[in-house]
């Protein structure tokens, strides 16, 4: 099993619903976020292109955060999801330094926090909160090993890219272009 997400940059309107849904679902403290929206504007008028990307932890296959963690608090669970055990985390910041996507932050309670692909919802057979709430259905989630999953189908029919592939992390959040 390999969980992954595909973000349709052609459908995303940048409404930030995913951001708010995540903050509510996961009790993210005020002023922090586990997912965010990037707007890239290319060119100048009248030849302008806009790309909108809903970004989050990439749950990388080759995750530097897990490698650098001195206590094993950052670890990978079944399905390739990168999680942090709060009571093993000492708050040293090594994983924050090692993440090319700046997807991790220091929670006011001390430990490091980030997107979990809503692991607690997956266990109940639900989708991550951001996926369910997206009004344009631009987020596709599922198991890459299952050819009939939402994400596999989305990646099969479209061109896609990942963020900073040159960092060598093998990210698992794909962007349909």
């Amino acid at each position: 099993m390999r969980y992954a997400m595909a973000v349709d940059t052609k459908k995303c309107v940048g409404c930030s619903d995913c951001v708010v849904a995540c903050q509510t679902e996961n009790n993210v403290p005020h002023g922090f976020c586990r997912d965010w929206i990037v707007e890239v504007v290319d060119g100048s008028y009248p030849n302008v292109e806009i790309e909108l990307r809903s970004e989050r932890c990439n749950h990388c296959d080759n995750s530097p955060c897990v490698r650098c963690c001195p206590t094993g608090a950052s670890h990978i669970v079944e399905g390739g999801i990168v999680l942090v055990t709060h009571e093993d985390c000492i708050g040293c910041g090594a994983c924050i330094q090692s993440c090319p996507y700046d997807a991790r932050y220091s929670h006011p309670d001390g430990y490091v926090d980030k997107c979990t692909f809503c692991h607690h919802r997956l266990e109940k057979g639900q989708n991550p909160a951001c996926v369910d709430v997206c009004p344009t259905h631009c987020l596709h989630f599922g198991d890459l090993d299952d050819p009939n999953s939402d994400v596999s189908k989305a990646l099969k029919n479209r061109k896609w890219k990942v963020n900073a592939p040159e960092a060598g992390t093998k990210p698992q959040v794909y962007f349909l272009t």
Binding site: E39, C68, C89, Q97
Partner: protein, 313 residues
């Protein structure tokens, strides 16, 4: 034109717009760790080659600085942790892939060792010194008997500690400025050089100082060589590394690095040491202080600048 914006309003403290989660504690600790490694390495070395008499300050007196600087460094590290009450989690696991785990375990062995080393010289430092309990006296006697074994361990652990202060940074592949294997040797050599500077400052023997300053001149040469290679490597690499190098070649860290680290921290003290060796009278504290200050600034600059560099996408 290309412009990237967070449109969902992202302003996480210490992460946006520039990563800045490591403050003064980490560079200070890297400096103190390197200093301790330098002093311990040379104390061990000169004991093993049997120069305990001629190099008294190196083998005996300067090592009294080591436990102090290690404890201060560890305290700085502790202050840096955000989840401080859980720091003991470092010692419930061994993670071979994580340099920080390596460092934590190295410190676990080298800190007590430095205390033992100093304890074996307590009676030389304070003639009437008596250990309170009999078993401590016995322990001291056996530590003195096996001093050479201790010296070997100390030397090896000092190299691990010195390299680790650089490897700690170079393991983070998200920060292009740090992500180079030269950082390990560079931090080791710089640490050894600061250690020598501290010993020279303390030493009163002309012979000892001249031996040490000859070694230091070699180390400074190696350090300059490694710095040049560091930048050659960056400039011949990808865009993110070139951008990282330009922070030092015209960017905001240019003056800080080339004036305080390279010129005042390496070249000028080297010139003073050469003048001293050819017979001019130079107060030893001037080159020593400059080397120590240069080493400290070097670590501050590297930690600060490294956090700014990143992959762009």
């Amino acid at each position: 034109m290309r412009e990237e914006l967070f449109v969902s309003g992202r302003n996480i403290p210490n992460i946006d717009p520039f990563l800045n989660i490591w403050h003064w504690q980490i560079p200070l600790y890297l400096f103190l760790g390197g200093l301790a490694a330098g002093i311990m390495f040379f104390a061990g070395l000169f004991l093993i080659i049997g120069k305990e008499k001629e190099m008294e300050t190196t083998v005996k007196w300067a090592t009294f600085l080591v436990p102090v600087s290690l404890v201060l460094g560890l305290f700085a590290l502790f202050l840096d942790l955000k989840h401080q009450l859980f720091f003991w989690r470092l010692y419930t696991t061994v993670r071979f892939e994580s340099p920080m785990s390596w460092g934590a375990w190295t410190l676990m062995f080298i800190t007590p060792l430095s205390f033992v080393w100093v304890a074996t010289y307590m009676k030389d430092a304070i003639p009437n010194w008596r250990w309170r309990f009999n078993f401590l006296e016995q322990l001291e006697a056996s530590a003195i008997k096996y001093r050479k074994v201790l010296a070997w361990f100390m030397m090896m652990l000092a190299v691990v500690l010195g390299v680790y202060t650089g490897i700690l940074l170079s393991a983070f592949n998200a920060r292009p400025l740090w992500n180079t294997s030269i950082l390990g040797p560079l931090f080791l050599v710089s640490g050894l050089s600061t250690g020598l500077a501290a010993i020279m400052w303390m030493s009163k023997s002309h012979y000892e100082r001249s031996v040490l300053s000859k070694i230091d001149l070699v180390l400074i040469g190696v350090e300059l060589f490694l710095i040049i290679h560091l930048f050659m490597g960056f400039l011949a690499a990808t865009e993110v590394q070139i951008e990282a190098a330009h922070l030092f070649l015209g960017g905001e860290f240019t003056t800080m690095f080339w004036v305080f680290v390279v010129l005042l921290g390496l070249i000028f003290p080297a010139v003073l040491e050469i003048l001293e060796l050819v017979g001019y009278k130079i107060p030893i504290w001037i080159p020593s202080l400059l080397i120590l200050f240069g080493g400290l600034v070097f670590r501050f600059v590297m930690v600060e600048a490294g956090q700014i560099t990143r992959y762009l996408y």
